[in-house]
């Protein structure tokens, strides 16, 4: 967790650019993992022995071993006092990068140069022993962090007070809640005089009060000129705290610079990826013609009704006429339903409903509510509901579609027929993104 940074000297470089004091200096860093599986890695002694007996030196197998590239030719320099936000999807190499900085992993290639003591808020409380009291674990963890006994004694009260554990510090930590556990770990790590603070998603746990306190403390350390490296999926935090964002993608820097710009690019990238994934996922989910569908007892069916009239296809169409899964609040949308009439009926009502992913019913209407006079329908056809402005705040939603009689007798009801997300760069709250404008002292302001 802590490195007393006696950084190895980079071979003979006394260049002029030394005026900037870099605490982290990484050049052409690469990390390759050997994929060790039971079948091809020499994980057991027997296999190593067999390989040797067959006259094949064990070392040779390495060449054939499949490898995973963790980090690819990365060059990053972080000046003292900077705040860097590291963003990227899962598996983009963020954690590998942190483990390389802290020295847990050794680079395959390149140089990692760290000047100063790192406090890694990664695995808080790693190494706590459940049967020992908070006091005992605190002392032990302090020693593991490189503090002397005197330093621990001197800071003991501060650490306990910050963690708000005065009343339970002499209880075994197995009796602690996970929040208390984390608080103790955080408090110890932050009281070790770090020069560099590595924060990896730890603030995702803990109650709001303590998280606020942690953030205050991190802000305080930043003001004191400490370097902050923040790894998180919380893009807002990166935007708020960091001078620079680095976007890692498959072990490479995809983009870096102004947080706002990089985050926007990253959001955009994710949107496009999500669109692809969602379309692939439920594409045309409705099975074409399956007249008699056994409805299993006890489970809420995703589709029900007599099927005298059937909705055979549902799609969400964007302004450009193509299928969409991700929309902006300002976007227009059309819900398109293809139907087939099996028994001629005149009493037809088509309806749609929008549900937020947590089950909140957001909106619902049908042709009866909207007093639409349906023209005489043929055997097959298409009904579309046009929405000029979708007007929802960021989140995940689903569409229900249905065709039924005026009295509610269902012909065909599809629950959650289409999943879609709203992505926005604004941070509106609530459900509905109303159309609005601001007028200050009679002057209309542009948004």
């Amino acid at each position: 967790m802590i490195i007393s940074g006696n950084a190895a000297q980079v071979g003979g470089e006394g260049q002029a650019s030394q005026e900037v004091d870099y605490v982290v200096d990484i050049r052409h860093l690469s990390k390759v993992f050997k994929r060790r599986t039971r079948s091809n890695g020499y994980t057991t002694f027997k296999q190593a022995l067999l390989a040797r007996l067959k006259g094949r030196p064990v070392g040779e197998e390495k060449v054939e071993e499949p490898v995973t590239v963790g980090i690819k030719d990365l060059t990053i320099r972080i000046p003292r006092g900077a705040s860097i936000g590291l963003i990227g999807r899962n598996g983009s190499g963020k954690s590998t990068f942190l483990k390389l900085i802290t020295g847990i992993y050794k680079p395959t290639d390149g140089v990692v140069n760290v000047r100063g003591r790192i406090a890694a808020l990664i695995e808080l409380g790693a190494g706590f022993h459940p049967d020992f009291t908070g006091r005992e674990n605190l002392v032990l963890a302090g020693i593991m962090h490189g503090l002397t006994r005197e330093q621990i004694t001197a800071r003991f009260d501060d650490i306990v007070r910050f963690a708000e554990l005065e009343h339970v510090i002499d209880d075994p930590v197995r009796t602690y809640s996970s929040g208390m556990f984390m608080r103790l770990g955080f408090s110890i790590a932050i009281h070790t005089d770090p020069d560099i603070l590595l924060v990896d998603e730890v603030l995702a746990v803990g109650d709001a009060g303590f998280v606020a306190k942690c953030k205050d403390r991190i802000a305080e350390l930043r003001r004191a000129g400490k370097t902050l490296i923040l790894v998180t999926h919380d893009l807002d935090a990166v935007e708020r705290w960091c001078d620079e964002a680095i976007w890692l993608h498959k072990g490479e820097v995809k983009d870096r610079g102004n947080p706002r710009r990089v985050i926007d690019a990253y959001r955009h990238h994710i949107e496009r990826q999500e669109e692809g994934a969602l379309l692939e996922e439920d594409g045309v989910q409705v099975d074409p013609i399956s007249t008699v569908e056994p409805v299993s007892e006890g489970r809420q069916p995703a589709r029900w009704g007599s099927r005298e009239v059937e909705i055979t296809q549902v799609s969400l169409i964007g302004a450009d006429g193509s299928e969409k899964r991700v929309l902006h609040p300002e976007d227009s949308a059309r819900v398109r339903m293809s139907y087939t009439v099996r028994n001629a009926h005149e009493d037809l009502v088509f309806g749609i409903g929008i549900t937020r992913v947590d089950g909140l019913s957001v909106f619902g209407t049908n042709t009866d509510i909207d007093r639409v006079k349906l023209p005489a329908t043929g055997a097959t056809g298409v009904v579309e509901c046009e929405i000029p402005r979708i007007g929802l705040v960021e989140g995940s939603y689903t569409f229900d579609v249905a065709v039924h009689r005026t009295d509610g007798y269902p012909y065909d009801y599809h629950k959650d027929a289409v999943h879609f997300s709203i992505r926005s760069d604004k941070r509106e709250v609530g459900v509905s993104s109303l159309t609005r404008g601001w007028v200050v002292d009679g002057v209309r302001c542009s948004c």
């Binding site: 967790m1 993992f33 057991t44 847990i104 790693a126 022993h129 032990l140 020693i143």
Partner: protein, 259 residues
Amino acid sequence: MLGSVKQVWQFRTLVGALVRRHIATRYRGSLFGFLWSLLNPLCLMAVYTLVFSYYMRFNGGPHYHLMVFAGLLPWIWTSSSLVEGTASLVNSGHLITKSLFPPQVLPVVSVTAAMVHFLLALPILAFFSLAAGVSVSWTWLVVPFIVVLHALFLTGIVLGLSALNVFFRDVQHLVGNLLTLLFFLCPVVYPVSVVPERLRFLITYNPFAALTQFYQELLVEGTLPNAGAVLYVAATCCLVAFIGARIHGHYQERFAEAL
């Protein structure tokens, strides 16, 4: 080698704290605490004495039970160090993968904790000696020297084996089985004198056996071991410590990924 010795020295506070925790963990929550670690050698001593002295009428010398006890105590140190030490890196994998933890500390802690148990049991041996009418000889003062050699020897083995065990989990199973064999190659339940002359080399050249013999000579018989034998064992221990530290150092960088 010197580097890793220096590193362990650097982390001596950590080693100290971990050894204390190690010992405390074992007895936390038990009523008799430390006494439990004495129960095992005492029972073994009783059983061996019963079987060999009374059932088999085997003449193991005048103070057979003391010889057995003096052999058992260092043996228990050896076996628990090897068993725990070999698995120490694998068992504490989370420390190595989640934080920058000096891995060589873990095997050293296993050996040291077992050594503390050994040292704490010595007064019991003294008590039994006095009870049997055997005086505690001045040769007890030489014991620390043998303890240092023994510790060096065990540390070397455990450093090497624990590193190999990260890559081949077979090692820990192998160690457990080999220890059973090794026990009978050490003169614990039999005196060296029953070993035929032409097979004596099995005692002399096996550092485990030779160490057992040294302890028995110093603690029970009150005689000094053969200087040549001690020199040989000292050289072997240093060599083993060196090789073990080298193996450990060689693989150390890859622990975090392999665990």
